[in-house]
């Protein structure tokens, strides 16, 4: 490795660690959240340095984009942090043993991880790629070799939506006055681009980095932006249609998985001649559904069905 690369990595990782510490311990809560968001940005760069552009894409859209927005929105709804002065001093004193413990723990962990041979499954994946139905190894692992993980993970996301919606109504229902016409104008420019790039990433997923997750996250970002600019969930969409859009991805996934049982003799097996098309269907359904689910997570509650007669 060239010394410039090493210096770059060192500075990058050092900044990440500092930002992580700030993100947890900064005195002001807003400062903590902003630090954490910057930490996310740098993490995406770190993924690039680790030759993992897929993860960088997901981190850029999910980690840095939506998580940041979610945190900022949460922050706006919390009161000021209450912490007695007594407690703060006590915390500083109690830091020392923790620091020692942390140092020892970090050293041990580092020593262990350095000793790991890391054989990995790279060769096995390469060997199986011809039968995978897609060109991108990561997509092949996600939607074919380990598709069961991905299905459950979409289940986790749907579950998160159900959990959040069970807590109450949506939090975006109340909106403050729009600041400047600049915002809706911006959204009008950006929204088509969001949709376009969503489909671009979905299409890319078959060949290279991209796929359902970043695509869904971009779609969600576009929808959230529109909501923030004053758009409402359309009346016609509320209730069952929205719920179906939220749950549809998991349902499609389940159908394809169980269909494999009947068509190819094993759960989640794709018949070889249809593998690519089936994976594409799953990917598109998952991507769109992820977009809607992430928006639903941002909504924080179910958009209420407005009764007729009321405006």
């Amino acid at each position: 490795m060239h010394p410039v690369e090493v210096t770059f990595d060192a500075l990058l990782l050092f900044s990440m660690v500092v930002l992580a510490w700030q993100g947890v311990h900064a005195r002001n809560m807003f400062r903590a959240v902003v630090s954490f968001m910057m930490f996310g940005l740098l993490t995406a760069v770190a993924w690039v340095r680790l030759e993992a552009p897929d993860i960088a894409l997901a981190e850029a859209s999910l980690g840095a984009g939506l998580t940041g927005a979610l945190l900022l929105a949460t922050l706006g709804r919390l009161g000021p942090e209450r912490r007695g002065p007594r407690r703060r001093r006590a915390m500083k004193l109690s830091m020392l043993p923790w620091l020692a413990l942390g140092l020892v723990g970090t050293t041990v962990l580092l020593a262990v991880t350095l000793s790991l041979p890391a054989p990995g499954l790279g060769e096995a994946v390469l060997a199986a790629m011809p039968a995978a139905g897609v060109d991108s190894p990561v997509t092949a692992v996600l939607l074919n070799f380990r598709a069961w993980d991905t299905l459950l993970e979409i289940g986790v996301m749907l579950l998160a939506v159900i959990a959040l919606w069970s807590l109450g109504q949506d939090v975006l229902a109340s909106t403050s006055r729009l600041p400047a016409p600049a915002l809706p104008a911006l959204v009008r420019v950006l929204f088509p681009l969001f949709v376009l790039s969503t489909f671009y990433l979905l299409w890319r997923g078959g060949h290279g980095p991209g796929g359902a997750f970043p695509a869904g996250a971009l779609l969600a970002a576009g929808l959230v932006l529109a909501l923030l600019a004053g758009a409402r969930v359309p009346e016609r969409m509320r209730g069952a249609p929205l719920r179906w859009a939220v749950g549809g991805g998991l349902f499609a996934f389940l159908i394809v998985a169980v269909g494999g049982m009947w068509a190819a003799g094993a759960f989640f097996a794709y018949p070889p001649q249809h593998a690519s098309i089936l994976i594409a269907i799953v990917e598109i359904a998952a991507g769109l559904s992820i977009g809607v689910m992430l928006t639903a997570l941002f909504l924080g509650g179910e958009p209420t069905e407005v009764r007729r007669g009321r405006t």
């Binding site: 902003v34 760069v45 984009g65 600041p179 681009l193 932006l225």
Partner: protein, 95 residues
């Protein structure tokens, strides 16, 4: 050439590390948000330069995603964290 790109990326990273001081110092939330903006733009530039160094085309997609999402944080910030006229919302609770 690769070294030139890498050196450029390193320069930007150092630049942004210095700018972090503004996040720490504040004083207002707007200042902190502003440094967040700088970070976003710089990250796009860093990714572009890394693309130059490695030639991995996917990095341009990452940069594109960053550029699209740059507005996201600020819009959430002015609409949710720091709204102009905080309305009395009921916290989305069931009445």
């Amino acid at each position: 050439m690769t070294v030139f790109y890498l050196a450029g990326a390193l320069f930007l990273l150092g630049n942004v590390a210095v700018a972090l001081a503004r996040v720490l110092r504040g004083p207002t939330a707007a200042d902190r948000m502003l440094s967040g903006e700088l970070m976003g733009t710089t990250a796009v530039a860093v990714l572009l330069l890394l693309y130059g160094a490695t030639g991995i085309e996917a990095l341009l997609d990452v940069a594109l995603v960053f550029a699209i999402l740059a507005a996201m944080a600020v819009v959430t910030f002015v609409r949710r964290t720091w709204p102009e006229d905080p309305v009395d919302d009921n916290g989305g609770e069931t009445p």
